[in-house]
Symmetry: C2
Subunit: 338 residues, 2 copies
């Protein structure tokens, strides 16, 4: 069996995460038992939620245990199978973690899923046609539930979730406005992803200043907002929400390092009769088939052409992950392992 | 026609409202035109929302115009009628404002409604069987939507909305916990209103301290919260919300004077997958008949025996209103005019 490079969580961040929180180790790959499948990972997914798992605090998920392989979505190819549903050569998506190989129980619910790469590149099953895409779908369809003509806004618009959100909202006849960091990303969001407008948050010194830029991009106000970042951006958007607006809270990346991240004016929830709802897509597995079907169609037909940032080799994963947390990625952040 | 004492908004508060913001005037009562009804007010309702109307700022309602009679709910008796549906002697509820008499268009939708005082005292149509009761009903039934056995919490529990909330939630098999200011109010909430527990917020210096007291009162956490006050109380409750909890935002009285009232940790909305929804009961007239029917039944059967704080005479209204904003009232705050 092949040697298996792995990245484990060595120690927990004090404030900002650093590369020294991680450790590269090499393990043996154990022989397969009945029902198990050996997968060689082609791509590892890096996602903001992983930062939350690195903390040892109350959250919706168990903390990442110290000394164990970092959790993470993976796509790859079956190398060897002792499970009747999988055969060598099958392309699969799973939660194999930050390592080159994984031994997976082929019968565990949701552990391993065969995918078709005829129309959708394998890596996209970690992005637009995977967890980030379904995340965008759930927030848009189940929480924001837009009417045709509504103005909807998404932060981190150039990212994996944001780009899928844009395509899904355009397909529903919405005006779609992104918020992103930097002119390059904003140009990409409008020119390549097809958003109606994109606001660069970086030149704005405070929420009131940013909200003025949002007013220009959203002349009819904001009916729905998909929140990935929190902090100043959320404060600015709240100032532009229309009555009966809906806010899907998916992430608050600005607060993942543990600093206080207050909401300046929660009274706007009352004044504008808003609905603000937090969600985690893995708790809504019932929507995945419908969402993946729509997302696969958008990618297959070229209506959603998400960009990917690809780091090379497992040892590059920590730096790429830290860059993701700072918004240095452009589109879906992956690590290529093969 | 009788002379009519009125209280008008003379000038807007700078920060805290004061008696000098109001002015007592005397007006003539004009002769009735066809379709009009002259009502003599027996009771005037004082409610926290009126403070919001005194500001000249963006809100869900138009600001109270300067120099005009303060808005407000009223109950009284028809003195004279030129409308076929009303006759002298009818008991009616309306929005007559801070004055002794009102001339009302009997056909305007929602302007005047005849009420039956056989089983429900007239004044209760301004409280438990009126707008505050329906407010509690909407937040509990339509937003919190509790299951039997859920723990639900309401702030300003001794007030008109809080007391109705308690009876409605007990009728649904919930554990009901109040938050109120002072040991007298808390004793009343438990002993007379039948709540399972009540937490006095006054001895607690910060949200974390208050949240510890809430933990003792809510050993299974909080599934639903009805928010009347905002500020430290909301921060404390958020720390105890269970996953998938629902928060109905009805009021944020702590912020009505314009001071910043941030929410310390909005990330809890995500971590606990909460739904936070603001509402205004007057925008949901479709639920009023069902809600009033249930509330009338609870009062008629003695299951809801709300207390009233009654100020005497129109000239006492401003001081009573300012006391309400500081929580000096005990139950529904009324002004008796007859």
């Amino acid at each position: 069996m092949p040697a298996n490079q792995q990245i484990v969580l060595d120690n927990r961040p004090q404030g900002e995460a650093t590369e020294s929180n991680f450790r590269l180790v090499t393990a043996d790959t154990p022989p397969l038992a009945d029902g198990q499948v050996l997968v060689r990972h082609h791509y590892l997914s890096l996602d903001p939620y992983m930062r939350g798992r690195m903390n040892d605090s109350k959250s919706y998920a168990q903390p990442q245990p110290l000394g164990e392989v970092m959790i993470g979505g993976t796509v790859g190819e079956v190398v060897e199978s002792r499970h009747p549903k999988f055969a060598a050569g099958d392309k699969v998506v799973g939660m194999g973690g930050w390592q080159q190989y994984a031994v997976v129980d082929g019968s565990a619910p949701g552990a391993l899923r065969k995918v078709d790469t005829t129309h959708v590149p394998l890596s996209h099953y970690l992005g637009a046609v995977g967890m980030p895409g379904v995340t965008a779908w759930y927030g848009l369809v189940k929480i924001i539930a837009p009417q045709k003509g509504d103005t909807v806004v998404v932060s981190a618009a150039a990212g994996a979730v944001g780009s899928a959100f844009g395509a899904l909202a355009k397909a529903r006849g919405c005006r779609v406005v992104g918020i992103a960091g930097g002119t390059d990303k904003c140009r990409y969001v409008v020119e390549e992803l097809g958003f109606d407008a994109c606001v660069d948050y970086k030149p704005h010194k405070d929420a009131r200043d940013l909200s003025r830029a949002l007013r220009d991009a959203c002349p009819s106000g904001i009916d729905g907002y998909f929140e990935n970042v929190g902090g100043m951006v959320l404060d600015a958007v709240l100032l532009r929400m229309n009555a009966f607006g809906r806010i899907a809270v998916c992430g608050m990346i600005a607060g993942y390092d543990g600093q206080p991240l207050p909401l300046a004016n929660p009274a706007l929830i009352l004044v504008q009769r808003l609905k603000v709802e937090g969600f985690i897509v893995s708790e809504h597995m019932e929507v995945w088939p419908e969402a993946l079907n729509e997302l696969g169609g958008l990618v297959g037909s070229g209506k959603l052409r998400p960009r990917e940032s690809v780091a090379q080799g497992l040892e590059a994963a920590p730096a790429a992950f830290l860059g993701l947390l700072k918004g240095r990625n452009f589109g879906k952040q992956l690590v290529k392992l093969v």
